[in-house]
């Protein structure tokens, strides 16, 4: 018993080491292009060259001074946040219903709710254009909000749905048996049990909207300029490093936010 325990301990540790090796290589793979992007953003010439022949922060200065980029940043941030909230509000219950419910046509409903992901975005954009044009909404943030939520919904449903499928039915039963109403059981017991999935879904829903450009181009107007739209514009005729400067700023902000969250969490648990 002891020998086999030790042997399997070794096996466990060797396996774990191998996993970490693979994960490290993966991390290098993930971050290498990021290093290139950051380096290119400090290029003094209006060229996408690496490594830069001369270094300067001129693209950052240009972004800092540009009111248009700042407003695009705020619009993107605010729009993506609303989209994340809305797609969670609609998608989490839907995921629950699809995972736990047993009604006829459930698979078809699931397919329909997920299908916006597969429809080519240009075709979706034109179809939505017709709809929003009839409602007089072309060029409004509201149209983008609805369109992006439609695009983010499938992601929420798939991710949270998987977590609900894995969820132990018993905990919900237990809460109900203790006298909780369905709503209370849902909010206080069911949801926390799928929290990682909800967090992941929220992140993806946010990023789906933050990164999206085709719908913005077709459904938007002069007053709905988002970051991807500005990036697309600047690439159409020039190829200067300002899009890498934007990316670097966003990465820096997100890393900073992550560090702040880490420190706050540690302080709370201390």
């Amino acid at each position: 018993m002891n020998d086999s325990a030790v042997a399997s301990d070794h096996e466990g540790r060797a396996a774990r080491a191998a996993l970490w090796l693979l994960a490290s290589v993966t991390m290098v793979f993930l971050l290498a292009p990021m290093l290139v992007i950051v380096a290119v953003s400090f290029n003094d010439a209006a060229l996408f060259s690496f490594p830069p022949q001369r270094w300067s922060a001129r693209w950052y200065a240009a972004l800092w001074e540009s009111r248009v980029w700042r407003e695009a940043g705020w619009l993107s941030l605010w729009l993506a946040s609303l989209v994340a909230l809305a797609s969670l509000a609609i998608g989490v219950p839907a995921a629950y219903g699809l995972a736990k419910g047993q009604f006829r046509g459930r698979r078809i409903v699931e397919a329909v709710l997920i299908s916006p992901m597969v429809v080519p975005v240009i075709v979706l954009a034109l179809g939505l254009y017709m709809l929003f044009s009839a409602a007089g909404m072309i060029g409004t943030p509201a149209a983008l909000f609805l369109a992006h939520t439609l695009l983010a919904l499938p992601v929420v449903i798939v991710i949270v749905g998987a977590a609900f499928r894995r969820q132990d039915l018993a905990i919900e039963l237990a809460a109900r048996a203790c006298g909780a109403t369905f709503a209370r059981a849902f909010w206080h017991v069911v949801l926390p049990s799928v929290r990682p999935a909800v967090i992941a879904a929220a992140a993806f829903a946010f990023l789906t909207s933050f990164d999206e450009v085709v719908l913005v181009l077709f459904l938007g107007g002069p007053r709905t300029t988002t970051i991807p739209k500005k990036i697309w514009e600047s690439v159409k005729f020039e190829l200067d490093p300002s899009l890498t400067a934007v990316s670097t700023i966003l990465i820096a902000v997100s890393v900073a936010a992550l560090l702040v969250a880490q420190v706050a969490a540690r302080r709370r648990s201390a």
């Binding site: 407003e71 609303l82 044009s133 107007g221 007053r223 600047s234």
Partner: protein
């Protein structure tokens, strides 16, 4: 983008935000029915910034007609606008393939040349007076090459030389999708057709010539910016791309140069959307912006050639030498025959459409 009219953008954003949360169906578009405003759809970025500086702002001051800019002038969006009956753009700044596609789909108003200033019009080459588009900015497809691979004048100077992978070794890239692709004229010329006999194109001859080019091409690129990037980094040695953009990169220090000989000129045009309402204001705008002086100012900021030969009277020697429509460079190049590309072939589609589709097929099936 640089719309400075109306309340501050932050106020608009905040009110838009609260309205969105409160009620998602509020119409936020500004009213357009008055004669004091036109909307120009252009490409954004430095191009629109330059246009606002030298065209829109002076025009607003001179006439009191407000110019709002929007964009980009996607043909599909114009089609959606016209079909839904909700046309919000008046003037488009766009290229010939888009115009041909839109003409075919009946999305444009013909330009009433009677309303255009005759003197100014005469200074623009007549080949640019398309029934549905008036050429104003000229770009060109040229041989753009890496100066490290081809220093001191050793670069290919004709398309036949570009097709010659033995004497001119190097990776090539050609455009696939975007601009007047495929580059059948160059294929025909490389095969021996003389420039003045290029049109009407011998399509089959051009395609067999393309077959001979295929093994030499390392990358069929989708955006011209990508081509310039590949040239600068040395991945590609010879490229068929927009000459003026190559010159911009050269100014920034990239090891790139442009051979204007044998190049093909093509215009960006002003076009009028079907159903655009403020016709008077539109023609006032057009007459204003085809002025040689205005075009010269634009040429100082955007590397493309002005269409009006008047513009060169307002440019210095150094400035005009770089432009692809300077008298010197103009002589080396030929004009795209817009009529040929727009001609309807036997199957009811334009040559442009047919060849774009054939190009996709040729690429996918290797045949």
């Amino acid at each position: 983008m640089t719309d400075r009219s109306g309340p501050s953008r932050r106020a608009m954003l905040l009110s838009g935000a609260s309205l969105t949360i409160a009620s998602p169906f509020v119409h936020l578009g500004a009213a357009r029915a008055d004669n004091r405003e036109i909307v120009v759809a252009s490409w954004g970025g430095s191009r629109t910034t330059a246009m606002r500086e030298v065209m829109f702002a002076p025009f607003e001051q001179a006439t009191g007609i407000r110019v709002r800019d929007d964009g980009p002038p996607e043909a599909a969006k114009v089609k959606a606008m016209v079909e839904s009956g909700n046309v919000t753009w008046d003037i488009l700044d766009t290229d010939i393939p888009a115009i041909l596609a839109m003409v075919n789909a009946k999305l444009l108003e013909p330009i009433d040349y009677a309303k255009i200033d005759k003197a100014k019009l005469a200074r623009i080459p007549s080949v640019l007076h398309h029934p549905y588009g008036l050429g104003h900015l000229i770009y060109s497809f040229n041989i753009v090459y890496n100066t490290k691979t081809f220093p001191n004048g050793t670069q290919p100077k004709t398309w036949a030389e570009v097709w010659d992978g033995v004497r001119f070794k190097g990776a090539r890239c050609f455009p696939f999708r975007g601009g007047l692709s495929p580059q059948l004229e160059f294929a025909a010329i490389a095969d021996g057709v003389s420039v003045d006999k290029v049109y009407p194109l011998d399509i089959e001859r051009a395609w067999s010539s393309m077959d001979r080019l295929r093994p030499l091409v390392t990358k069929w690129y989708a955006t011209h910016a990508e081509a310039i990037q590949l040239l600068s980094s040395g991945e590609i040695d010879i490229c068929c791309t927009i000459g003026p953009r190559g010159l911009v990169a050269k100014k920034e220090g990239a090891p790139i140069d442009v051979e204007f000989a044998g190049g093909k000129l093509a215009p960006d045009n002003w076009a009028i959307v079907k159903g655009a309402r403020n016709t008077e204001a539109i023609y006032q705008f057009l007459n204003f912006v085809i002025d040689g002086k205005v075009q010269a100012e634009l040429a100082k900021r955007i590397p493309y050639g002005p269409s009006s030969q008047d513009a060169f009277a307002h440019l210095s020697e150094a400035e005009s030498r770089q432009l692809n429509t300077s008298p010197e460079n103009l002589a080396k190049q030929f004009w795209t025959d817009i009529e040929w590309w727009g001609k309807v072939a036997e199957n009811g589609k334009t040559n442009n459409e047919n060849q774009i589709e054939r190009y996709a097929r040729w690429m996918v099936k290797r045949a």
